[in-house]
Symmetry: C2
Subunit: 450 residues, 2 copies
């Protein structure tokens, strides 16, 4: 028979069992934290009607879509989780209760040019709060609190959530009589980390701004220092403009609430250079950077928007949300050694009968341990004992429980710590007590080291 060579599509990825276990741990932490803040799960289809999914898309995005016909139906694969959310909220607006808090962790598809760190199928982990007509500003403070809790639980401590409010720069532009340029200015300033200050000055000149306006903009975005100092500097600009005042009051409440929500000052910062390129955002915005890995870019971004679903409805649906590019983040953490993959099995212990004569004892001990919540791999393959231990080593299981003729007779088992090589003989009851203790210790360990 002619064999087909097994392979996967270029730009797609899948993990080894040990990597997948680590990936799932991170995904679980994200999910758990989202639920801790009262977000409800949502799971929309991967396929959507192209007409619906692409109602707003255009340009680069549209080119990347996986789109095909099936019979008469024009189908597209989702390329983010925001458009499906907008569709879901409008479809189900009468059944939902607003503010509607939802999280979705799922795969999205973009047929980008294949390059390192870019995938064509990748996980996004999104949360959004959607209001009907209005949405209180304190939800804007919840977002950085959630980011903080996710990364703290993962074991990362050296990160900064950069926070700004697009109304500030927009208000400044209005006060300078340059309201019509504010979209361009926000887009140019957004690039400062990439292109540098001189280039930003040059580009601001190119769109027709005078030297004085440019100086003011640069002085504005260079405002720096702790939060108190930033607010003083913003006040000292003396801008009398409604948009600016609104932005300042929003930012003030967000920053004050963050302290109440227990987020340490070292993990967030007002940064007026961030603007998020998209016109979509209208207020608070976020970008999160790892202190020691600026090359990762923002690992979690988002912001406030006034209008989630204008292409489906006339109803005003303001919202605020963040998104973690999970697959990319994981690949970066793995590359940089911040994640060390470990066990290739979720089992806490592997039970090994020395010969087939002890197979029933091994199955019975396994069942007893499972009833206590311990995850157990029973190795019943009829191999040499050395091969059995070798399997345990390769798969990385932390403990083995060995049952030979003597142990079967004495209702005991030899427990071996695979990391240290230490072993001790325990009665079957003590085996479970011992392992429960070890499982609880292991649960306290952080997923990442930073």
């Amino acid at each position: 028979m002619v064999k087909i060579q097994p392979r996967i599509l270029s730009g797609f990825m899948e993990f080894t069992p040990a990597e997948q276990i680590k990936f799932n741990q991170i995904k679980d932490v994200i999910r758990y934290t989202y639920e801790e803040f009262g977000f409800s799960p949502l799971d929309t289809p991967v396929l959507e009607l192209s007409e619906v999914l692409l109602a707003k898309a255009g340009g680069e995005t549209e080119k990347q879509i996986y789109r095909f016909m099936r019979g008469d139906t024009d189908i597209s694969m989702r390329f983010d989780l925001t458009v499906p959310l907008a569709r879901y909220v409008v479809m189900n607006q009468n059944a939902l209760t607003f503010p509607f808090k939802r999280y979705q962790i799922g795969k999205v598809y973009r047929g980008e040019r294949a390059q390192k760190g870019r995938f064509r199928e990748f996980y996004q982990a999104d949360i959004d709060v959607i209001g009907m007509d209005k949405l209180d500003i304190s939800y804007d403070a919840e977002m950085p609190a959630i980011i903080y809790n996710v990364f703290k639980k993962l074991g990362l401590s050296k990160f900064v959530i950069n926070i700004s409010n697009r109304k500030l720069l927009k208000g400044l532009m209005e006060s300078l009589g340059l309201a019509d340029k504010s979209g361009d200015v926000l887009r140019i300033v957004d690039k400062i980390a990439k292109i540098g200050k001189d280039k930003v000055v040059e580009e601001l000149g190119n769109i027709g701004l005078g030297k004085e306006s440019i100086d003011t903009i640069i002085r504005f975005i260079e405002i720096d220092g702790d939060n108190k100092k930033v607010f003083e500097s913003l006040q000292s600009f003396g801008i009398e403009n409604e948009t600016f005042t609104k932005g300042l009051s929003e930012l003030t409440e967000v920053i004050n609430s963050l302290a109440v929500l227990g987020v340490p000052e070292k993990n967030y910062k007002i940064n007026l250079t961030i603007t998020r390129g998209l016109d979509y955002y209208t207020g608070t915005i976020y970008e999160t950077m790892l202190d020691d890995y600026p090359q990762f870019g923002s690992i979690c971004s988002g912001g406030r928007y006034d209008d989630l679903a204008g292409f489906y409805t006339d109803k005003k649906l303001p919202g605020v949300g963040i998104s973690i590019g999970l697959t990319r983040l994981f690949a970066s953490l793995l590359d940089s050694g911040l994640i060390k993959v470990g066990e290739a099995t979720p089992a806490n212990v592997m039970v090994i009968p020395i010969t087939n004569a002890e197979k029933e004892n091994a199955l019975s001990l396994s069942a007893d341990l499972r009833a206590l919540g311990i995850k157990v791999l029973t190795f019943t393959e009829d191999n040499k004992f050395k091969a059995k231990l070798n399997y345990a080593n390769k798969i990385g299981v932390p403990f083995v429980a060995i049952i030979g003729e003597d142990e079967a007779k004495n209702h005991s088992s030899v427990i071996k710590d695979m990391a240290t090589g230490e072993q001790l003989t325990l009665s079957l009851e003590d085996v479970s007590t011992f392992l429960i203790g070890k499982v609880m210790e292991a649960a306290k360990e952080k997923i990442l080291k930073s």
Copy 2:
């Protein structure tokens, strides 16, 4: 602006938040149980090269595939989780440790004719153990033990895992000198629950079997009773045939091990009428029926196979596995009322400031509760108090913690049980103790009632 009507593709489904929470609980129980038995997670791409994915497919399956070209690449969406497993195992055979135990819970795609209870995108929850060259029979006993544990944890008790071994009927056919008919006979017998005994007799006649052979086959598959009685009856057939003897010895070990693994006899049964239509299966086979809902069909099926990946490799990769059709099972449980959807939020409590003056107190209490592992929704929208309580009612959160002027002053909160309407004023410390107790009580409740 012209609005696009938001809608989803026919045959696709998505849930309300309350349904999704229930669905995820069931998915979590399945995942947890799979891990408890030492299965490692796997997450393969949804898209595969058509050449690779369809190496074996044909006929009906191939017609249902979502398949499309992108540039020069012929792409298909996965239609099950078994072919991707075969591809993965062969691609990674040098990195994997055998026996390789993996679970995968993911969406698969089949463009079937739309009809009730059939979906074009649905979850499968699969486990398989794959050996290299050989695989011990005791893994065949693990499968029903896992099914039992899943359904027990869900709160279902009235179900029967039907077990047989294809070698028995195959061996019987060989002993009758009808080895060449055994594929047909297995396929015909497979339909007995649907078409009835008379029709089976008729169809066995149609493929050229004589009356005596048909009588023997019918007597054979009608063997019934408890396990001890079934084994006696099987012995009394006096079949001297290697295949049959092998099947009997395998079945005996599986049944004996099930008792050791703690599976009660009322939840499994040797049933010689089940054969699984597919030629793929070569030994132990399983079908699981709910006692009171035979119309659901088998809610969890699988079996032993000799050759996972013959279309990719010459290596022999025997395995055993089961699959739960999760979306279909969930829809059936929902339809029949066995699942009652409840809360539309994962939160254990909603914290409500009576006015904006207590917003900070509410955020602060929320953060303290979260630090203790309690899931908290903070309601900060500036609504009337009645509207806030109304939101809590609609979203189904079990408790609310109310903070007004007095409570803010006294560091206390009024806790209201939304189910009973009872309320009591507690100091902030006592709020957490009270809620932790309630969360632990709730965790003990079963997901389904049966």
